[in-house]
Subunit: 249 residues, 2 copies
DNA sequence: CGAACGTTTGAACGATGTCAAGCGGGGTGG
DNA sequence: CCACCCCGCTTGACATCGTTCAAACGTTCG
């Protein structure tokens, strides 16, 4: 599942103009406290898009003129190192906002790509700025999203992408299952695993392959299907599941 | 430099009541756009504190009723894993705000400790909330700080705490020097290095020791003194300075 | 002066990254 | 519609790196 070349223009995947009222009904959690009807839909259209799995959505450094609410599917955000290498920095899921940095910067500082097929709404920053003055709760909403993003990043770094390599892969599976719930756990390419965990793709491949031959995991239709308890058990049985970490503090 | 036991009460380190006007003069960058005189100093006192190196300042889970601006010194923030292990998640420096999460949560979600002697101002959240309504730029200021914190965390995880263990230690030294500038590079305990980089303290110790015997680094008065160029050079000469990372994306 | 703790250092095993070759699937073009 | 090709996955062999374990040293603090 490699990344597809960038669309010359997002409009290729434009589905239509959104009716925010209806969206609010369906996705109670999205900007829950927000009265989206306050958006001046005449001048600032909210459109929704569907991207196929693997599609690049944002490129690091792109001019940032909108944020996106994720209505369905999973997204990865990554950065490109000076040497050309790639590191995946976080995952986003339905209910998350993609591209928050657009609200205080003029360019995206991470690339974004669809891990699965994705459905999202594009909100021009002008629309948000407009709401900011009329909707006082929006400020708290945004603040909570920043905080949540940071906390998730911290947790991922310490609880998933740390410890012995093989353990990291297992922890990633556990994380993915919980992260995706109630949606099924999306399958992730070995290379993406490697880029998330800082392990070699060979190691990622080996661990997954071993789980498969042990009958504990299967991969069908771009889904990982496995028994969470078994993975937990393997992790627990693992010699020092990732802690030469000092206990005393 | 282990962590000192928690102070029963911060007031032990209370230096006095602050005059925000004078503080603003000295630290142009702190909440630069902010008119701190708008704080009602009668009811909501701003006090400043000095902590010795090693002192624990905040404990994960503590009730969060204030943020702190860092006027001098360096601070680490860490989380305690379920198994009791410790992972240092980020560093803060003069000009940073400690405990931003207090503004949208009722408890701190990371512990904080002084890496060096530290001087900070305590701002009750009530004071900030008060300013929020009178000072419209404060919202943007806070948003920028969240964004910055996240970007720094991303960068640290990908550019410092990744790659071969020995390279991580070197990258940490490079990072520290740049991070601390123009202040001198503070020395960091091998255990803290280990907790930041997810390597063993033995490895951290070995790399530092080797640099010392090579005459490239010395540790005096809780300072690392070394030639940045030499460390860069070592890193460059390092076999694959941390990239089995895929190039193509 | 003793105890506690962190650092240093050695030795050895195990884990993991690198390299390389073979396989398989999906997409493209004939 | 089929064949080929490209790319990612798999898998083995191997060398190296890094963790673990353990012991000794030094320093700080009581």
């Amino acid at each position: 599942m490699s990344d597809v070349e960038p669309a010359p223009c997002l409009s290729e995947f434009l589905m239509g103009r959104m009716d925010c009222r209806r969206c609010g009904e369906r996705n109670g959690k999205l900007f829950s406290s927000l009265n989206v009807q306050a958006i001046d839909h005449r001048s600032l259209a909210v459109h929704d898009y569907e991207f196929p799995s693997g599609m690049r959505i944002l490129r690091q450094g792109d001019p940032a003129d909108a944020i996106f609410t994720i209505r369905a599917g999973f997204i990865k955000r990554w950065l490109t190192l000076p040497d050309g290498g790639v590191r995946i920095v976080r995952l986003l899921r339905p209910g998350d906002v993609l591209g928050l940095e657009a609200l205080s910067q003029r360019s995206y500082d991470l690339s974004a790509g669809a891990i699965t097929a994705v459905h999202l709404c594009r909100l021009p920053i002008e629309a948000i700025e407009q709401l900011r003055v009329t909707q006082p709760n929006l400020v708290a909403e945004l603040e909570a999203r920043w905080r949540d993003l940071l906390a998730r990043t911290d947790r991922f770094a310490t609880m998933v992408a740390a410890g012995p390599s093989r353990a990291r892969v297992l922890k990633l599976l556990r994380y993915l299952a919980q992260f995706a719930a109630p949606a099924p756990c999306p399958s992730v390419s070995r290379q993406d695993m490697a880029a998330m965990l800082d392990v070699s793709s060979a190691t990622a491949s080996r661990v997954v392959a071993e789980l498969k031959t042990a009958g504990l995991l299967r991969e069908r239709r771009h889904r990982f299907e496995f028994d969470l308890a078994s993975v937990e058990q393997l992790l627990a049985a693992m010699p020092r599941s990732g802690s030469q970490s000092r206990k005393k503090v």
